[in-house]
Symmetry: C2
Amino acid sequence: MKLKDVGEFGFIDRIKDGALIRKYLGLVGIGDDCALFKVEEGKSVLLTTDMLLERVHFLRDLMTPFQIGYKALAANLSDIAASGGVPKEAFVSLAVPENLSLEDLLEIYKGMKDLAKKFDVNITGGDTTTSLKDLVINIALTGEIDEELVLYRSGAKAGDIICVTDYLGDSAAGLDLILNHREEMHNFPTLTTKHFMPIPHIEQGRAISRSRLANSMMDISDGLASDIRHICKASKLGAVLHEERFPHSEEFNRYIAEFKPEYLKTAIGVGEDYCLLLTVSQENFAQLKKTLNDLGHQLYNVGEMIKGEDVYIVNKEGEKSILKLSGWDQFKEH
Amino acid sequence: MKLKDVGEFGFIDRIKDGALIRKYLGLVGIGDDCALFKVEEGKSVLLTTDMLLERVHFLRDLMTPFQIGYKALAANLSDIAASGGVPKEAFVSLAVPENLSLEDLLEIYKGMKDLAKKFDVNITGGDTTTSLKDLVINIALTGEIDEELVLYRSGAKAGDIICVTDYLGDSAAGLDLILNHREEMHNFPTLTTKHFMPIPHIEQGRAISRSRLANSMMDISDGLASDIRHICKASKLGAVLHEERFPHSEEFNRYIAEFKPEYLKTAIGVGEDYCLLLTVSQENFAQLKKTLNDLGHQLYNVGEMIKGEDVYIVNKEGEKSILKLSGWDQFKEH
């Protein structure tokens, strides 16, 4: 069955079910000109938006429609996590090519709804249109937060410890397995799952912002090598990263040993980790780590902020040099 | 110059200028993980989102980049107008093909900024990514409104007068001129301008919602023939449209006389009028019309809501029949 068999409004009728997790304050949902929602008194609104295109950001023959929907929403949830907010309302725009079946389209929504339910997020509205060739997904996601709890990229201080909330490079390793070592993928189930279905660090982001212990935060989408530069630029500081401190999963280490890819690029140059990158003063680090550990989460020290504007890496031999790896900027030639 | 010559963050630096019209309450703008904004106390948030694709919704060789940006934002503003709200924050996602120059991209932003300035709207954030072939634009736009002033599609009552706030069919006629009669376009400057650069009826929408005189409202994007069906469905009513009452511009009438297109299709079957479609009780009509006239705006009576579920048209000879024309549903075969 194709989208054209049911029409835009027939499609809306089919996706309404299960789209609203929380009771909808605002009365208007999918199908009217606008969605209406209330914001809790005293809170500010966070909004993030991401556009994903087939063949640029994902390949339809490598991911199930469920995974495509899940991951698209996960990337947006990670942005809300990075500000320390509570995610609320998702607005999904889809441009659908002729060769995508209605069943696949509903599976994309199922992937989004599954993840939305976990984090108490409504799929509140959106826009569905046709595409001549590639599937395009744009999600706009709102969140709420107390304004004084928002963590910015610009708040880092010289001397701050640079922290991450998860193993680095699992997603990058998963992607390489999917693209280049499909016959051995099954030996690394965590890596491929972390690439296809990352769990956004909403709980960690909330705990960190509520603790008021951190100075700056963002999420790692382009790789630590690239993303730390945003914190440096916004905070007018430099950074030193310590390779020997980079946290890795057992599967990641096994993957590195077996396939011998360029280690540093895989660990910090590809991205899609969707964990948090934050800075915290030396004196607050232990308390913040305990706060997260008590909730069953992790905090790893991977470096420190310094005066200046350069980003250095200290390799496993203790040699310090300017970090050349810049991570993923899709507009630059690679 | 190409986007890749400056990179994503070089591009952000170039579009920041003039993007924020109002003072920005929330401190974070373009370039952080999320945008943060405050909502006036007691107000609710409206959010609308629209995705436009090259070759599906617009042709790059028929429109200037400025017009593409202008019109993309205009369509979203029209949705906020349709709810009676005040537009506030725009979030722009762009997927940019290799063959679009940086200059053209900045012109697209200029078109958006020009219109945004007219309606005191901030371009607050967004996402820029690459596309393999077609330009894709998604805008998510927020607005504010008192919840009790929101007008829905579902509020129409049997006996209500069906009204529109502008001439019908100008944009459709303009499109036909652009596509099929380019050498005579210059004789119909208003029609082509209304197609390329429609003025969203924000002021009219505000005045109508604040008057509390109307029962239901939406904007005309797919054509009156299609859009009145949404009000009928949501309000569980039927409608009668009167062809002889349809308001038309002098240029539209001249275009019809000269090119003899299918009249009804052009007037109510193509759309992109981006004016408002509303229903108001018989007793409130005159007062609402005066309210709009006093502001220099128009209100035209084009039919009435009836019990039942069918949509009828009364032609210029006074003959009543079921309206077959359904307007634009892009997913259905035409």
